[in-house]
Symmetry: D4
Subunit: 146 residues, 8 copies
């Protein structure tokens, strides 16, 4: 089973999910989580740009190579919305995954519930913690839900 972990990159929630899901035979993928590298990979590899829009454009497209292939390959896409930032790329990934028919799991706190209602409506599960994601994966793989 392949699982893509999209969204928030400022906490170690991916590590928590992966640790709690150890032994299940799940193959995880995700975006580049080093913020500076992710932002600047485009210009580092493809050459500098004077205009910020194109600087960002190059980086975002490089990241799309990684992201879209990984979402296409995934059986399950988990999207986490954190406390800060606009996180439009997370919502974009959720829409992309939904349109591709992927099983979608959305993770967020109670304060974002109303704002995320359309995203949640496309999900097969809405969770609050990495541990819940791991329990779902455990259930999907083994059929057990303690």
């Amino acid at each position: 089973m392949k699982v893509y972990l999209s969204g928030e990159i400022h906490t170690d929630w991916r590590d928590e999910v992966e640790a709690a899901a150890q032994g299940l035979g799940v193959e995880f993928s995700g975006p580049v989580t080093d913020h500076a590298t992710s932002d600047d990979a485009g210009v580092r590899i493809l050459g500098a740009e004077d205009v910020k829009f194109w600087h960002d454009h190059k980086g975002a497209k490089l990241n799309a190579i990684r992201t879209r292939n990984a979402i296409e390959a995934a059986d399950i896409v988990v999207v986490r919305f954190g406390d800060k930032y606009k996180q439009w790329n997370a919502a974009f990934d959720a829409g992309y995954a939904a349109a591709k028919g992927k099983a979608l799991i959305v993770m967020h706190g109670a304060d974002h519930q109303h704002a995320l209602k359309e995203v949640d409506a496309a999900a097969l599960a809405v969770v609050k913690t990495p541990q819940q994601v791991a329990k779902i994966l455990h259930y999907v793989v083994s059929g057990e839900a303690e």
Copy 2:
């Protein structure tokens, strides 16, 4: 040509686009823009819910009937990000449209440029104003760009 106008619902930008595109033979569609109706349609039609999550869930799913059919039918999807709110549904629509291979036009101000770089990277045009959208539609239909 069918164009879906997604995103921000607190200004009259849809009217501006439609007025400026008059005579082009474009058929426009969009989400329900009356905020209260959009939020409460679910419980009004399907029955009240005590828990806010399910209240919103019913509404978001009813809206999805309208939204997904309209995006599927569209040749072009325009997504506008305004100044306020999280607007995750707008980004979700953009991801959905991108995955369906729709021609995507994104509209936003300069202050959101960095936060929207992944969404912009999936677009065939990034604009600032409704007039630019109308000019693009005019160009696509008539081949003229004054």
Copy 3:
């Protein structure tokens, strides 16, 4: 907008939906609702069969010509489960529509709630009455939910 009305054929719920949705410009379709004709069309047109299985097989396949084309063409598929019979063809249609990405509305009474939980989980709305279906169609077309 095209709407396919699947399922129970022993009450006049289709007439109720269509009457309540008049003026919306919705094009309705549905299965053959004359029970004897539906059961026997196969052998009437294609020749009699001694074995009941093949008698039914011929009829079911003729009906599939009508049903699958209509579901494919539909924007919305409504499936009603009545009080009697197994109604496996209704649940089959729901699964077929879900796999084709159609917007699914399921109608049934409270007594069938638990048995239909998997079908309901694939729906964008679960209703009890034909009037609710008409209200949803009205909302999807006009954006109004009184």
Copy 4:
């Protein structure tokens, strides 16, 4: 070859098929067959619900993560209808598999023949026993039918 065994969960027919198909190199999957776990996994992992509909909804959606991925991955989908219950999820799975172009095998007793005619009409084989399923798998893999 991957085979998904859908439907009735109250007898050990899956074990019979798998035992009789041993050595063929077939990889089997199926739904969670522990009734209580399947019903309650949603609330156990995602939190309790006061309303039965949402209790069931959460569970059905968790199960859909497992079910839809497994049907998508399958080359052959076998759906068994037992003597009891409505089994609408079995018919839903059959419709889903048919729409996805999967090779469908339906298993049921003679008493359900008429009620299942539409489901049977979509199948490439209609059988009565687990042994017949195993013989079909044996034939498909080895080309032998003793």
Copy 5:
């Protein structure tokens, strides 16, 4: 409803179907039925060929422009096998239509039953006469089977 009439071109069965289906609002299409024109259109339009294979190749490809577009557009594909010739193009069309998920009706006499068993197995109806095709179309459109 669009119906493509494939196969045998030496009798007037298409006229019979169309006459018997008059008033149903069915739009019929079919291959070019003038044998010489069909065989030679390629070289007439695109230039002569010394080698018979390429002479035929040019013609067959021109015909494919017409045929494949018409099959793609059709809701129902009818394929008639006559008494003479190999008619491999008819069987090819049947396979093509089946793979595209079209509702397939096959027409042939009893003498070809065994040889056509694989084609018949992919059909939703197997008939002997043009009148039966018209009755099916009548049933699919109106729900009546006298």
Copy 6:
């Protein structure tokens, strides 16, 4: 690379192709080539039929489980037309493979050239011998054509 060898089952051409392609790492599949088993597998496993049509129908559908899965999985589909019989299933497979976008290789003698022109027109190669098929596979895998 996966190659499906469809069509004529009365000579050992499959063995010739496989022998000549040894060492290329190609995985071959094909229909059941024991004529009696192929014809009777349906009734042997699923129960006898009095009517020949249904006897054949059961067999043809069982074979379709094997055939369609193998064609779907194949990168290349080779279809051989022999000297005898109608071989409509071979032409059906060719049409099915073409519609699924498979690379199609057709094998036949010069005497069938005109009758197979539509099938040949859908092929990427038309050959006369098993050795030519093996040479093509060798070329596709290694890039060498001696």
Copy 7:
């Protein structure tokens, strides 16, 4: 029938095709043929760019809105290669159309035959003149080839 006329924009071949195809009920579309407008539409509507690459990028993406929608909608795509320029966009359109399963007609002079062999190999017809295109359209619509 919808026909997209791609490629060379420096002669009036589109007018010739359309004039010769008058009365056939064919709906033609094509790229913007005013060279300066096509090149500069991006910056005119979306704002100037200092770097030539991004100047061109904006224009090419605006044109893609028009081009891809028109190719998607077309039944037949005609691609003409003229005497001058690299015309990589013409070849790109041919590849795009081929991958979308469109009926492809390629037009070019004898001198480009070898260089276009891969493009020609994907076509259902290779022609030299606009009159030949019109004759093909006439044949596809009417079945006549004088």
Copy 8:
């Protein structure tokens, strides 16, 4: 990860990419790069042709077996345009890959920038050197961009 290296075959750029990407676990594929073999494989295997068009046609179709399967299987398609020749097959591959939703990387010198603007507009990265391709692959696999 699978990467198809399309386009120019007269320099050793494929070796450079593969050498620089060693250890990343990337599986590379590409066209036959021996010019004479690629041109003549068709007639060598399938028999000589007097007319140059058909000589080339046979070869181009054999190559299409290899090319299309490899592009379909690829996660990333790199297309390099060199200094010489028309290279329409490279642009055709780029269009084909774009229509199939593959991540596209285009490589060319500054002199071809304007002529390739439509191809570049479909790419997720535009590079000048094989080393840049390897850096992108390294970034996509490891998330590091030094």
